[in-house]
Symmetry: C2
Subunit: 218 residues, 2 copies
Amino acid sequence: MFSLAEENYLKTIFHLEQEYRSGVSTSAIADKMDTKPSSVTDMVQKLAEKEVLSYKKYKGTLLTKSGKAIAANVIRKHRLWEVFLVAKLNFHWDEVHDIAEQLEHIQSEELIIRLDEFLEHPNFDPHGDPIPDEQGNVYPTEKKTLSELEKNQQGICVGVKESSTEFLQYLDKRKIGIGVKITVLRKEYFDGSMMIQVGGNQLFISNKIADNLYINII
Amino acid sequence: MFSLAEENYLKTIFHLEQEYRSGVSTSAIADKMDTKPSSVTDMVQKLAEKEVLSYKKYKGTLLTKSGKAIAANVIRKHRLWEVFLVAKLNFHWDEVHDIAEQLEHIQSEELIIRLDEFLEHPNFDPHGDPIPDEQGNVYPTEKKTLSELEKNQQGICVGVKESSTEFLQYLDKRKIGIGVKITVLRKEYFDGSMMIQVGGNQLFISNKIADNLYINII
DNA sequence: TTTAATATTTAGGCTTGTCTAAAAATAAAA
DNA sequence: TTTTATTTTTAGACAAGCCTAAATATTAAA
Ligand SMILES: [Mn+2]
Ligand SMILES: [Mn+2]
Ligand SMILES: [Mn+2]
Ligand SMILES: [Mn+2]
Protein backbone atom coordinates (compact mmCIF):
# COMPACT_ATOMS: atom_id res chain seq x y z
CA MET A 1 0.00 0.00 0.00
CA PHE A 2 1.28 3.44 -0.89
CA SER A 3 0.53 6.63 0.98
CA LEU A 4 -1.13 9.63 -0.55
CA ALA A 5 2.23 11.41 -0.72
CA GLU A 6 3.91 8.44 -2.34
CA GLU A 7 1.16 8.13 -4.94
CA ASN A 8 1.55 11.79 -5.80
CA TYR A 9 5.28 11.41 -6.33
CA LEU A 10 4.82 8.37 -8.55
CA LYS A 11 2.17 10.13 -10.61
CA THR A 12 4.32 13.22 -11.07
CA ILE A 13 7.38 11.22 -12.06
CA PHE A 14 5.26 9.23 -14.51
CA HIS A 15 4.11 12.43 -16.21
CA LEU A 16 7.64 13.87 -16.30
CA GLU A 17 9.06 10.69 -17.81
CA GLN A 18 6.56 10.92 -20.63
CA GLU A 19 7.39 14.55 -21.16
CA TYR A 20 11.18 14.23 -21.24
CA ARG A 21 11.69 10.57 -22.16
CA SER A 22 14.73 10.34 -19.89
CA GLY A 23 15.77 10.21 -16.24
CA VAL A 24 13.73 12.66 -14.23
CA SER A 25 15.73 15.19 -12.22
CA THR A 26 15.16 15.99 -8.58
CA SER A 27 14.48 19.64 -9.30
CA ALA A 28 11.97 18.85 -12.05
CA ILE A 29 9.97 16.83 -9.53
CA ALA A 30 10.30 19.54 -6.88
CA ASP A 31 9.06 22.13 -9.37
CA LYS A 32 5.98 20.18 -10.44
CA MET A 33 5.09 19.30 -6.88
CA ASP A 34 5.70 22.67 -5.31
CA THR A 35 8.14 21.28 -2.84
CA LYS A 36 11.88 21.48 -2.11
CA PRO A 37 14.57 19.38 -3.80
CA SER A 38 15.70 18.07 -0.43
CA SER A 39 12.22 16.69 0.24
CA VAL A 40 12.26 15.03 -3.16
CA THR A 41 15.60 13.36 -2.47
CA ASP A 42 14.23 11.93 0.77
CA MET A 43 11.12 10.54 -0.85
CA VAL A 44 12.88 9.25 -3.94
CA GLN A 45 15.31 7.29 -1.78
CA LYS A 46 12.41 5.79 0.12
CA LEU A 47 10.62 4.85 -3.10
CA ALA A 48 13.81 3.30 -4.47
CA GLU A 49 13.92 1.03 -1.40
CA LYS A 50 10.37 -0.03 -2.21
CA GLU A 51 11.56 -0.79 -5.75
CA VAL A 52 8.99 1.33 -7.52
CA LEU A 53 11.75 3.42 -9.07
CA SER A 54 15.46 3.26 -9.73
CA TYR A 55 17.66 6.00 -8.42
CA LYS A 56 21.36 6.79 -8.61
CA LYS A 57 22.67 9.75 -6.68
CA TYR A 58 22.89 12.89 -8.81
CA LYS A 59 21.57 10.95 -11.84
CA GLY A 60 17.80 11.26 -11.50
CA THR A 61 15.14 8.56 -11.35
CA LEU A 62 13.12 6.25 -13.57
CA LEU A 63 10.02 4.31 -12.58
CA THR A 64 10.22 0.53 -12.54
CA LYS A 65 7.51 -1.57 -14.12
CA SER A 66 5.60 -1.76 -10.85
CA GLY A 67 6.07 1.96 -10.24
CA LYS A 68 4.58 2.69 -13.64
CA ALA A 69 1.62 0.45 -12.93
CA ILE A 70 0.87 2.19 -9.66
CA ALA A 71 1.18 5.64 -11.24
CA ALA A 72 -1.02 4.68 -14.20
CA ASN A 73 -3.65 3.40 -11.83
CA VAL A 74 -3.74 6.68 -9.92
CA ILE A 75 -4.04 8.53 -13.23
CA ARG A 76 -6.80 6.15 -14.28
CA LYS A 77 -8.72 6.96 -11.14
CA HIS A 78 -8.14 10.68 -11.53
CA ARG A 79 -9.49 10.70 -15.06
CA LEU A 80 -12.45 8.44 -14.35
CA TRP A 81 -13.50 10.70 -11.50
CA GLU A 82 -13.17 13.72 -13.78
CA VAL A 83 -15.52 12.05 -16.25
CA PHE A 84 -17.94 11.34 -13.43
CA LEU A 85 -17.89 14.93 -12.23
CA VAL A 86 -18.52 16.35 -15.69
CA ALA A 87 -20.86 13.73 -17.12
CA LYS A 88 -22.95 12.96 -14.04
CA LEU A 89 -22.66 15.92 -11.69
CA ASN A 90 -22.62 18.58 -14.41
CA PHE A 91 -19.39 20.19 -13.38
CA HIS A 92 -17.58 22.22 -15.96
CA TRP A 93 -14.22 20.96 -17.25
CA ASP A 94 -12.33 23.74 -15.50
CA GLU A 95 -13.72 22.83 -12.05
CA VAL A 96 -12.89 19.16 -11.75
CA HIS A 97 -9.14 18.83 -11.44
CA ASP A 98 -8.74 19.72 -7.76
CA ILE A 99 -11.58 17.47 -6.69
CA ALA A 100 -10.20 14.58 -8.76
CA GLU A 101 -6.83 15.25 -7.14
CA GLN A 102 -8.44 14.12 -3.88
CA LEU A 103 -10.69 11.38 -5.25
CA GLU A 104 -7.80 9.65 -7.04
CA HIS A 105 -6.49 8.45 -3.67
CA ILE A 106 -9.60 6.60 -2.54
CA GLN A 107 -8.58 2.98 -2.03
CA SER A 108 -11.04 0.45 -3.46
CA GLU A 109 -10.52 -1.73 -6.49
CA GLU A 110 -14.20 -2.52 -6.65
CA LEU A 111 -15.19 1.14 -6.56
CA ILE A 112 -13.21 1.89 -9.70
CA ILE A 113 -14.48 -1.18 -11.51
CA ARG A 114 -18.05 -0.07 -10.82
CA LEU A 115 -17.42 3.59 -11.53
CA ASP A 116 -15.91 2.64 -14.90
CA GLU A 117 -18.96 0.49 -15.59
CA PHE A 118 -21.34 3.27 -14.52
CA LEU A 119 -19.60 5.69 -16.87
CA GLU A 120 -19.74 3.11 -19.66
CA HIS A 121 -15.99 2.59 -19.95
CA PRO A 122 -14.88 6.00 -21.18
CA ASN A 123 -11.58 6.24 -23.05
CA PHE A 124 -10.88 9.93 -22.54
CA ASP A 125 -11.30 12.39 -19.71
CA PRO A 126 -13.01 15.80 -20.12
CA HIS A 127 -9.72 17.37 -21.24
CA GLY A 128 -9.12 14.82 -23.97
CA ASP A 129 -6.54 12.82 -22.00
CA PRO A 130 -6.61 9.05 -22.43
CA ILE A 131 -7.73 6.90 -19.48
CA PRO A 132 -5.27 4.07 -18.72
CA ASP A 133 -6.84 0.59 -18.69
CA GLU A 134 -6.95 -1.74 -15.65
CA GLN A 135 -3.55 -3.18 -16.55
CA GLY A 136 -2.04 0.29 -16.51
CA ASN A 137 -1.57 0.56 -20.25
CA VAL A 138 -1.98 4.05 -21.62
CA TYR A 139 -2.17 4.63 -25.32
CA PRO A 140 -0.75 8.11 -25.72
CA THR A 141 -2.37 9.33 -28.90
CA GLU A 142 0.21 11.01 -31.11
CA LYS A 143 -1.21 14.46 -30.85
CA LYS A 144 -0.58 17.53 -32.96
CA THR A 145 -0.92 20.95 -31.40
CA LEU A 146 -2.68 23.84 -33.09
CA SER A 147 0.71 25.57 -33.36
CA GLU A 148 1.80 22.91 -35.85
CA LEU A 149 -0.98 23.72 -38.32
CA GLU A 150 -0.29 25.88 -41.34
CA LYS A 151 -2.39 28.60 -42.89
CA ASN A 152 -5.73 27.32 -44.21
CA GLN A 153 -5.48 23.99 -42.41
CA GLN A 154 -8.47 22.89 -40.33
CA GLY A 155 -8.89 20.57 -37.39
CA ILE A 156 -11.01 19.51 -34.46
CA CYS A 157 -9.90 20.32 -30.95
CA VAL A 158 -9.38 16.99 -29.14
CA GLY A 159 -7.71 18.06 -25.95
CA VAL A 160 -5.63 20.53 -23.98
CA LYS A 161 -2.03 20.21 -22.88
CA GLU A 162 -2.43 22.39 -19.82
CA SER A 163 -5.62 22.13 -17.81
CA SER A 164 -5.27 24.99 -15.39
CA THR A 165 -8.46 26.81 -14.49
CA GLU A 166 -7.16 30.04 -16.04
CA PHE A 167 -6.44 28.43 -19.39
CA LEU A 168 -9.74 26.53 -19.50
CA GLN A 169 -11.67 29.67 -18.68
CA TYR A 170 -9.79 31.57 -21.37
CA LEU A 171 -10.94 28.90 -23.82
CA ASP A 172 -14.51 28.91 -22.60
CA LYS A 173 -14.82 32.64 -23.01
CA ARG A 174 -13.85 32.18 -26.65
CA LYS A 175 -16.08 29.13 -27.20
CA ILE A 176 -13.14 26.82 -27.73
CA GLY A 177 -13.62 23.31 -26.37
CA ILE A 178 -13.33 19.64 -27.26
CA GLY A 179 -15.08 18.87 -30.58
CA VAL A 180 -14.87 22.44 -31.83
CA LYS A 181 -13.66 23.06 -35.40
CA ILE A 182 -10.77 25.48 -35.81
CA THR A 183 -9.39 26.96 -39.04
CA VAL A 184 -6.06 28.78 -39.31
CA LEU A 185 -6.68 31.98 -41.23
CA ARG A 186 -3.29 33.61 -40.88
CA LYS A 187 -0.04 32.70 -39.18
CA GLU A 188 2.80 35.00 -38.12
CA TYR A 189 6.11 33.21 -38.40
CA PHE A 190 8.23 35.44 -36.17
CA ASP A 191 6.22 34.62 -33.02
CA GLY A 192 3.88 31.79 -34.03
CA SER A 193 0.78 33.79 -33.23
CA MET A 194 -2.25 33.19 -35.45
CA MET A 195 -5.67 34.39 -36.53
CA ILE A 196 -8.18 31.55 -36.31
CA GLN A 197 -11.81 30.91 -37.15
CA VAL A 198 -13.90 29.34 -34.37
CA GLY A 199 -17.60 28.95 -35.05
CA GLY A 200 -18.79 32.30 -36.34
CA ASN A 201 -15.87 34.25 -34.82
CA GLN A 202 -12.38 35.13 -35.87
CA LEU A 203 -9.82 35.59 -33.16
CA PHE A 204 -6.16 36.23 -32.61
CA ILE A 205 -4.20 33.89 -30.34
CA SER A 206 -0.59 33.75 -29.18
CA ASN A 207 1.71 30.81 -29.83
CA LYS A 208 1.45 29.85 -26.16
CA ILE A 209 -2.27 29.28 -26.56
CA ALA A 210 -1.88 27.43 -29.86
CA ASP A 211 0.78 25.19 -28.35
CA ASN A 212 -1.55 24.05 -25.58
CA LEU A 213 -4.41 22.97 -27.84
CA TYR A 214 -4.42 19.46 -29.29
CA ILE A 215 -5.93 19.17 -32.76
CA ASN A 216 -6.92 16.39 -35.15
CA ILE A 217 -6.39 17.68 -38.65
CA ILE A 218 -9.33 17.18 -41.02
CA MET B 1 -9.92 23.54 7.76
CA PHE B 2 -9.81 20.33 9.74
CA SER B 3 -7.56 17.38 9.05
CA LEU B 4 -8.81 13.90 8.35
CA ALA B 5 -7.88 12.82 11.86
CA GLU B 6 -9.62 15.80 13.42
CA GLU B 7 -12.78 15.16 11.40
CA ASN B 8 -12.83 11.56 12.57
CA TYR B 9 -12.57 12.58 16.20
CA LEU B 10 -15.39 15.11 15.84
CA LYS B 11 -17.59 12.58 14.13
CA THR B 12 -16.97 9.94 16.79
CA ILE B 13 -17.61 12.35 19.65
CA PHE B 14 -20.82 13.47 17.94
CA HIS B 15 -22.07 9.88 17.77
CA LEU B 16 -21.09 9.19 21.40
CA GLU B 17 -22.83 12.33 22.64
CA GLN B 18 -26.05 11.19 21.00
CA GLU B 19 -25.66 7.76 22.50
CA TYR B 20 -24.94 8.81 26.09
CA ARG B 21 -26.41 12.33 26.24
CA SER B 22 -23.62 13.52 28.51
CA GLY B 23 -19.91 14.40 28.54
CA VAL B 24 -17.96 11.91 26.47
CA SER B 25 -15.10 10.16 28.25
CA THR B 26 -11.59 9.80 26.92
CA SER B 27 -11.73 6.04 27.02
CA ALA B 28 -15.09 5.89 25.21
CA ILE B 29 -13.52 7.81 22.36
CA ALA B 30 -10.40 5.64 22.42
CA ASP B 31 -12.53 2.52 22.27
CA LYS B 32 -14.64 3.62 19.31
CA MET B 33 -11.60 4.85 17.39
CA ASP B 34 -9.34 1.93 18.12
CA THR B 35 -6.67 4.12 19.57
CA LYS B 36 -5.11 4.78 22.98
CA PRO B 37 -6.53 7.11 25.66
CA SER B 38 -3.30 9.10 25.66
CA SER B 39 -3.72 9.84 21.96
CA VAL B 40 -7.27 10.95 22.61
CA THR B 41 -6.17 13.34 25.34
CA ASP B 42 -3.64 14.93 22.96
CA MET B 43 -6.19 15.42 20.23
CA VAL B 44 -8.99 16.56 22.49
CA GLN B 45 -6.75 19.26 23.94
CA LYS B 46 -5.90 20.41 20.44
CA LEU B 47 -9.55 20.49 19.43
CA ALA B 48 -10.44 22.44 22.59
CA GLU B 49 -7.91 25.10 21.52
CA LYS B 50 -9.70 25.30 18.21
CA GLU B 51 -12.96 25.74 20.11
CA VAL B 52 -14.83 22.90 18.47
CA LEU B 53 -15.27 21.22 21.81
CA SER B 54 -15.09 22.02 25.51
CA TYR B 55 -12.81 20.00 27.68
CA LYS B 56 -11.98 19.95 31.39
CA LYS B 57 -9.29 17.63 32.61
CA TYR B 58 -10.68 14.33 33.83
CA LYS B 59 -14.22 15.51 33.06
CA GLY B 60 -14.72 14.50 29.45
CA THR B 61 -15.70 16.60 26.45
CA LEU B 62 -18.73 18.09 24.74
CA LEU B 63 -18.84 19.48 21.21
CA THR B 64 -19.50 23.18 20.79
CA LYS B 65 -22.03 24.43 18.28
CA SER B 66 -19.37 24.73 15.58
CA GLY B 67 -17.96 21.32 16.47
CA LYS B 68 -21.39 19.80 16.04
CA ALA B 69 -21.83 21.48 12.67
CA ILE B 70 -18.53 20.12 11.39
CA ALA B 71 -19.31 16.62 12.64
CA ALA B 72 -22.81 16.65 11.15
CA ASN B 73 -21.38 17.72 7.82
CA VAL B 74 -18.94 14.82 7.77
CA ILE B 75 -21.80 12.46 8.62
CA ARG B 76 -23.89 14.05 5.87
CA LYS B 77 -21.14 13.35 3.36
CA HIS B 78 -20.66 9.82 4.62
CA ARG B 79 -24.33 8.99 4.21
CA LEU B 80 -24.76 10.69 0.86
CA TRP B 81 -21.82 8.74 -0.51
CA GLU B 82 -23.34 5.53 0.85
CA VAL B 83 -26.53 6.30 -1.03
CA PHE B 84 -24.50 6.95 -4.17
CA LEU B 85 -22.63 3.67 -3.86
CA VAL B 86 -25.80 1.63 -3.38
CA ALA B 87 -28.20 3.49 -5.67
CA LYS B 88 -25.85 4.28 -8.56
CA LEU B 89 -22.97 1.85 -8.41
CA ASN B 90 -25.05 -1.13 -7.27
CA PHE B 91 -23.03 -1.90 -4.20
CA HIS B 92 -24.71 -3.92 -1.52
CA TRP B 93 -25.43 -2.20 1.82
CA ASP B 94 -22.83 -4.28 3.63
CA GLU B 95 -20.02 -3.14 1.31
CA VAL B 96 -20.25 0.63 1.44
CA HIS B 97 -19.20 1.75 4.90
CA ASP B 98 -15.42 1.53 4.49
CA ILE B 99 -15.46 3.32 1.16
CA ALA B 100 -17.70 6.06 2.56
CA GLU B 101 -15.28 6.34 5.46
CA GLN B 102 -12.74 7.61 2.93
CA LEU B 103 -15.08 9.60 0.71
CA GLU B 104 -16.50 11.57 3.65
CA HIS B 105 -13.23 13.51 3.86
CA ILE B 106 -13.20 14.87 0.31
CA GLN B 107 -13.19 18.65 0.59
CA SER B 108 -15.58 20.40 -1.76
CA GLU B 109 -18.81 22.14 -0.84
CA GLU B 110 -19.92 22.15 -4.43
CA LEU B 111 -19.34 18.44 -4.84
CA ILE B 112 -21.76 17.61 -2.04
CA ILE B 113 -24.37 20.05 -3.30
CA ARG B 114 -24.28 18.38 -6.69
CA LEU B 115 -24.09 14.86 -5.34
CA ASP B 116 -27.16 15.54 -3.20
CA GLU B 117 -28.91 16.91 -6.28
CA PHE B 118 -27.86 13.91 -8.39
CA LEU B 119 -29.27 11.55 -5.77
CA GLU B 120 -32.47 13.61 -5.59
CA HIS B 121 -32.03 14.81 -2.01
CA PRO B 122 -32.29 11.53 -0.12
CA ASN B 123 -33.32 11.66 3.54
CA PHE B 124 -31.94 8.30 4.63
CA ASP B 125 -28.85 6.28 3.91
CA PRO B 126 -28.95 2.58 2.91
CA HIS B 127 -28.99 1.54 6.57
CA GLY B 128 -31.96 3.72 7.43
CA ASP B 129 -29.91 6.45 9.10
CA PRO B 130 -31.09 10.05 8.56
CA ILE B 131 -28.92 12.34 6.42
CA PRO B 132 -28.21 15.68 8.13
CA ASP B 133 -29.21 18.75 6.08
CA GLU B 134 -26.80 21.45 4.84
CA GLN B 135 -27.18 23.37 8.09
CA GLY B 136 -26.12 20.33 10.07
CA ASN B 137 -29.54 19.58 11.51
CA VAL B 138 -30.25 15.91 11.99
CA TYR B 139 -33.71 14.74 12.83
CA PRO B 140 -33.11 11.60 14.82
CA THR B 141 -36.25 9.60 14.26
CA GLU B 142 -37.44 8.11 17.53
CA LYS B 143 -36.85 4.51 16.62
CA LYS B 144 -38.13 1.36 18.21
CA THR B 145 -36.08 -1.80 18.00
CA LEU B 146 -37.50 -5.19 17.20
CA SER B 147 -36.69 -6.24 20.78
CA GLU B 148 -39.36 -3.83 22.01
CA LEU B 149 -42.15 -5.54 20.10
CA GLU B 150 -44.47 -7.96 21.84
CA LYS B 151 -45.90 -11.25 20.64
CA ASN B 152 -48.13 -10.87 17.58
CA GLN B 153 -47.00 -7.31 16.86
CA GLN B 154 -45.86 -6.53 13.31
CA GLY B 155 -43.55 -3.91 11.84
CA ILE B 156 -41.45 -2.83 8.91
CA CYS B 157 -37.68 -2.86 9.23
CA VAL B 158 -36.51 0.74 8.75
CA GLY B 159 -32.87 0.54 9.74
CA VAL B 160 -30.08 -1.15 11.65
CA LYS B 161 -28.30 0.06 14.75
CA GLU B 162 -25.03 -1.69 13.96
CA SER B 163 -23.85 -1.74 10.37
CA SER B 164 -20.91 -4.06 10.53
CA THR B 165 -20.37 -6.31 7.55
CA GLU B 166 -20.94 -9.41 9.68
CA PHE B 167 -24.31 -8.25 10.95
CA LEU B 168 -25.51 -7.08 7.54
CA GLN B 169 -24.51 -10.36 5.97
CA TYR B 170 -26.30 -12.24 8.72
CA LEU B 171 -29.44 -10.28 7.82
CA ASP B 172 -29.03 -10.81 4.09
CA LYS B 173 -28.73 -14.53 4.50
CA ARG B 174 -32.11 -14.45 6.25
CA LYS B 175 -33.71 -12.03 3.77
CA ILE B 176 -34.04 -9.29 6.35
CA GLY B 177 -33.54 -5.77 4.99
CA ILE B 178 -35.05 -2.32 4.93
CA GLY B 179 -38.75 -2.43 3.96
CA VAL B 180 -39.19 -6.02 5.01
CA LYS B 181 -42.21 -6.94 7.17
CA ILE B 182 -41.53 -8.79 10.40
CA THR B 183 -44.01 -10.43 12.74
CA VAL B 184 -43.21 -11.59 16.27
CA LEU B 185 -44.57 -15.12 16.66
CA ARG B 186 -43.18 -15.95 20.09
CA LYS B 187 -41.03 -14.19 22.64
CA GLU B 188 -38.98 -15.70 25.45
CA TYR B 189 -38.85 -13.36 28.39
CA PHE B 190 -35.85 -14.75 30.22
CA ASP B 191 -33.40 -13.86 27.37
CA GLY B 192 -35.42 -11.73 24.95
CA SER B 193 -34.94 -14.16 22.08
CA MET B 194 -37.86 -14.53 19.67
CA MET B 195 -39.36 -16.50 16.84
CA ILE B 196 -40.27 -14.24 13.95
CA GLN B 197 -41.95 -14.45 10.58
CA VAL B 198 -40.07 -12.91 7.65
CA GLY B 199 -41.58 -13.39 4.22
CA GLY B 200 -42.42 -17.07 3.94
CA ASN B 201 -39.97 -18.14 6.65
CA GLN B 202 -40.04 -18.47 10.40
CA LEU B 203 -36.80 -17.99 12.24
CA PHE B 204 -35.36 -17.81 15.69
CA ILE B 205 -33.23 -14.81 16.65
CA SER B 206 -31.37 -13.74 19.78
CA ASN B 207 -32.06 -10.55 21.70
CA LYS B 208 -28.79 -9.10 20.39
CA ILE B 209 -30.08 -9.35 16.84
CA ALA B 210 -33.52 -7.99 17.74
CA ASP B 211 -31.96 -5.07 19.57
CA ASN B 212 -30.03 -3.99 16.47
CA LEU B 213 -33.02 -3.88 14.13
CA TYR B 214 -35.11 -0.71 13.93
CA ILE B 215 -38.81 -1.25 13.31
CA ASN B 216 -41.84 0.86 12.51
CA ILE B 217 -44.82 -0.80 14.07
CA ILE B 218 -47.82 -1.27 11.78
C1' DT C 1 -12.69 7.19 55.60
C1' DT C 2 -8.87 4.97 54.21
C1' DT C 3 -7.36 1.79 50.60
C1' DA C 4 -7.52 -0.33 46.18
C1' DA C 5 -8.85 -0.25 41.40
C1' DT C 6 -9.67 2.31 37.35
C1' DA C 7 -9.45 6.25 34.36
C1' DT C 8 -6.87 10.02 32.68
C1' DT C 9 -3.02 12.78 31.84
C1' DT C 10 1.91 13.71 31.19
C1' DA C 11 6.54 12.63 29.59
C1' DG C 12 9.24 11.03 26.25
C1' DG C 13 9.77 8.69 21.80
C1' DC C 14 8.75 7.17 16.96
C1' DT C 15 7.34 7.72 11.88
C1' DT C 16 5.97 10.43 7.93
C1' DG C 17 6.67 14.18 5.30
C1' DT C 18 8.18 18.52 5.22
C1' DC C 19 11.70 22.50 5.78
C1' DT C 20 16.43 25.39 6.02
C1' DA C 21 21.25 25.59 5.92
C1' DA C 22 25.48 23.56 4.82
C1' DA C 23 28.29 20.27 2.21
C1' DA C 24 29.31 17.81 -1.95
C1' DA C 25 28.93 16.77 -6.81
C1' DT C 26 28.14 18.11 -11.44
C1' DA C 27 27.80 21.33 -15.23
C1' DA C 28 28.99 25.70 -17.34
C1' DA C 29 32.10 29.48 -18.08
C1' DA C 30 36.35 31.62 -18.34
C1' DT D 1 41.76 23.34 -17.33
C1' DT D 2 40.69 25.98 -13.58
C1' DT D 3 37.12 28.60 -11.62
C1' DT D 4 32.35 29.59 -10.93
C1' DA D 5 27.54 28.59 -10.88
C1' DT D 6 24.03 25.28 -10.39
C1' DT D 7 22.10 21.05 -8.83
C1' DT D 8 21.76 17.60 -5.55
C1' DT D 9 22.44 15.52 -1.22
C1' DT D 10 23.09 15.43 3.80
C1' DA D 11 22.35 17.05 8.47
C1' DG D 12 19.43 18.60 11.68
C1' DA D 13 14.87 20.38 12.99
C1' DC D 14 9.79 20.55 13.23
C1' DA D 15 4.52 19.47 13.22
C1' DA D 16 1.01 15.90 13.17
C1' DG D 17 -0.52 11.76 15.11
C1' DC D 18 0.37 8.04 17.14
C1' DC D 19 2.62 4.90 20.92
C1' DT D 20 4.42 3.03 25.84
C1' DA D 21 5.43 3.77 30.51
C1' DA D 22 4.98 6.46 34.49
C1' DA D 23 2.51 9.85 37.30
C1' DT D 24 -1.76 11.67 38.98
C1' DA D 25 -6.95 12.00 39.68
C1' DT D 26 -11.15 9.95 40.31
C1' DT D 27 -14.19 6.31 41.68
C1' DA D 28 -15.32 2.09 44.05
C1' DA D 29 -14.55 -1.05 47.77
C1' DA D 30 -13.43 -2.23 52.17
MN1 LIG E 1 -6.97 16.64 -13.81
MN1 LIG F 1 -7.85 15.69 -16.94
MN1 LIG G 1 -21.42 3.96 7.26
MN1 LIG H 1 -24.80 4.21 7.01
